[in-house]
């Protein structure tokens, strides 16, 4: 986990610096385009970004193992992700007010996604190759196929045209008005949850099919158990274990989806922060946010792996 994060930080670090088309050019070009300065001092921009020293030193400073120009250690290891280039705020301050929004959206979407996916997936497996199965599978693929940005747009346009309903635009904190807060999050979460449910639905179906062919299911049938008991107690319990992994895989998709959904529904979360930072070419903020996404992702995968160990007695971690 630590090595992975280490490499993630190297990848992010190198992405900015090694890909053709330098940030300095981009920033200089943008400053000229915005008329901030006619003659931009390239060296000054490089100094401001800390690009005037060797790659190794730059990386060391960013991580916090090499002293900064002022002589103090302040890097990621010290909890300092750097400062935003345009706003008088640190990366962490920017993130601190945004991440609860994305987290709430993500958790709601995850719950809604599973609520849609599991029953349909099980049904589909039990009636394999019947019309019910085809309809269920079509629905699963439709969830994957219908792009979130389109569904989101439709969900905003048509209710407002037909019933004059608009989801609230300004962020309502959960502590002040839980109902209003949920009303604000429910539509985006459904749109995001739909996209995720497709994959879980398919995985549930596949795993159910595999488990239903096992010997112990035959034994259960032979014992004369009712179908409901076999399906829920014997098959589903075991089929769900790999499904947990899929939920782990979906988190990156969830984050990608959140970027789009937050943009459409005007939710001030991490995704919008990231997009705004990209549009302003605020690279310290961009790399900070990306690294935080990576850290979050690694932690979620860890949680999924640990859960896996609890759920599946065959898995042992040494």
């Amino acid at each position: 986990m630590i090595p992975t994060l280490f490499i993630v930080s190297i990848v992010i670090f190198l992405l900015i610096r090694l890909i053709p088309g330098s940030i300095v050019d981009a920033i200089v070009g943008q400053q000229q385009a915005f008329g901030i300065a006619e003659e931009v001092d390239r060296a000054a921009v490089e100094r401001a970004l800390g690009l005037d020293v060797s790659l190794a030193t730059q990386y060391g400073r960013w991580i916090g193992v090499v002293p900064q120009a002022e002589g103090n250690f302040s890097g990621i290891l010290q909890g300092d992700f750097g400062n935003s280039m345009w706003k008088p705020a640190t990366v962490l301050e920017e993130v601190a007010i945004r991440w609860p929004v994305t987290l709430e959206l993500g958790i709601l979407a995850l719950i809604i996604g599973q609520l849609i996916a599991l029953p349909i997936g099980v049904f589909s497996a039990l009636r394999q190759d019947t019309w019910g199965d085809y309809i269920a599978r079509s629905f699963a693929i439709m969830c994957i196929a219908v792009p979130g940005f389109w569904l989101g747009t439709m969900v905003i346009v048509f209710p407002s045209l037909w019933w004059g309903y608009m989801p609230p635009i300004a962020l309502i904190p959960f502590t002040e008005d839980p109902i209003g807060n949920l009303e604000m999050f429910i539509l985006p979460a459904i749109v995001l949850g739909m996209a995720m449910s497709g994959m879980t639905m398919r995985m549930t179906r596949t795993m159910m099919l595999e488990v239903l062919r096992q010997d112990y299911i035959r034994t259960a049938w032979a014992k004369g158990l009712r179908e409901r008991v076999i399906v829920i107690r014997h098959a589903l319990k075991n089929a769900l274990i790999p499904v947990i992994t899929v939920i782990g895989w979906q988190v990156p998709i969830l984050v990608g989806g959140a970027v789009i959904i937050e943009q459409i529904f005007c939710l001030p979360g991490m995704g919008r922060l990231f997009l705004n930072a990209i549009q302003l070419r605020d690279y310290p903020l961009v790399s900070g946010v990306t690294l935080l996404f990576g850290i979050g992702m690694v932690f979620i995968n860890l949680i999924v792996d640990v859960t896996y160990g609890f759920l599946d007695p065959r898995v042992h971690y040494r």
């Binding site: 992975t4 490499i7 993630v8 190297i10 990848v11 900015i16 890909i19 053709p20 088309g21 940030i23 981009a26 497996a125 039990l126 009636r127 394999q128 190759d129 085809y134 599978r137 079509s138 693929i141 439709m142 994957i144 196929a145 219908v146 792009p147 940005f149 389109w150 569904l151 747009t153 439709m154 346009v157 048509f158 407002s160 045209l161 596949t206 159910m208 099919l209 239903l212 062919r213 299911i217 035959r218 049938w221 179908e227 988190v251 990156p252 998709i253 984050v255 990608g256 970027v259 789009i260 990231f274 997009l275 990209i278 070419r281 961009v286 990306t290 996404f293 990576g294 992702m297 995968n301």
Partner: protein, 315 residues
């Protein structure tokens, strides 16, 4: 996942690979056939876009701005009076180009990394896989936007960046398959008679992992099409004036969405149908190529054709 099956895929007898495949597709996979037809239609639309369009995609009909569908404009017009049908058709071309070439690129990258890692193994595998881990733990869209904001938007950039990022993630699958094939006796025999490594890789390993490679390609295509649309929607994809289904929605479409809904309906609908069709087709391809998932139904005793061999599911 598919490592154990890949060895047997090639051994199944088929009279003529393509004909046999098509017969099975139509017979056994009605949804896959529908998907195949949609895929074929998309391909034809993309290829013959120039012939099919009623107007050039950039032509402005200033008298008919945001017109609803009519005999003259079958899908209506957008906020600049451009014919939506023509733009949707050209959007199909973009999707075909990106879908095929970025997926091909991804498959190449995945196969290259996967085979090398799987066959060489050891320290090399360990180090490369940590990098693969690192790329995989960053959300795809985030890393794509990140890179494209640096290299700039454009069709070529999208293909290269999309193909590389997806390919790195997909190399896991191919690596697994390669590891499975590597254990076979014929590989040991090839090593024993002094085959050079490149020959072993291309003549012994590669043909035997063709099934997972084809399956991987088929799963990547719809994902790539959707991702391109998302990128274009956010402004990091195909730059205007070239119409992409994603950018048709965001540029203009959403700005005037309360005045006319047609400009946002058609591109999304086209995208949904295409991704649905390609997915269904890919699914059918996978079912047919991957014998592990073949046969048997959910309820025990009804039509279970053959018990899976125990060691199959183990390794």
């Amino acid at each position: 996942m598919a490592d154990s099956s890949s060895g047997r895929v090639v051994e199944t007898k088929r009279h003529s690979a393509l004909v046999g495949f098509l017969i099975r597709l139509v017979k056994e996979k009605p949804l896959g056939t529908v998907g195949g037809v949609i895929t074929l239609l998309l391909l034809l639309t993309g290829i013959f876009a120039d012939v099919l369009v009623p107007y050039p995609y950039y032509e402005l009909h200033t008298a008919d701005i945001l017109a609803p569908p009519s005999a003259r404009f079958l899908m209506g017009t957008d906020f600049m009076g451009r014919d939506l049908l023509s733009r949707v058709i050209f959007g199909a071309r973009v999707s075909v180009i990106i879908g095929l070439s970025a997926s091909a690129m991804a498959t190449l990258v995945a196969t290259f990394i996967g085979i090398l890692c799987g066959y060489i193994g050891g320290k090399f595998d360990l180090v490369v896989q940590r990098f693969v881990d690192a790329v995989m733990c960053l959300p795809n869209l985030i890393i794509l936007i990140f890179i494209i904001s640096i290299v700039g938007a454009g069709i070529l950039q999208i293909i290269l960046v999309l193909g590389t990022v997806w390919g790195i993630g997909g190399s896991r699958l191919i690596r697994g398959a390669a590891i499975g094939v590597k254990e076979n006796v014929y590989v040991a025999a090839a090593v024993a008679i002094g085959c050079p490594t490149t020959r072993i890789l291309t003549r012994h390993i590669l043909p035997n992992i063709m099934a997972p490679i084809i399956i991987y390609f088929s799963t990547v295509v719809p994902g790539v099409i959707l991702t391109e649309a998302s990128l274009s929607f956010l402004g990091f994809g195909i730059p205007p004036p070239m119409p992409s289904w994603g950018s048709m929605l965001s540029l203009g479409g959403r700005k005037y969405m309360f005045l006319s809904q047609w400009p946002i309906i058609w591109p999304g609908l086209a995208l949904s149908i295409v991704v649905y069709g390609v997915n269904m087709f890919g699914d059918a391809v996978r079912d047919i190529l991957d014998p592990r998932l073949r046969g048997g139904v959910g309820r025990y005793g009804v039509g279970v054709k053959k018990e899976e061999k125990r060691n199959d599911s183990k390794k």
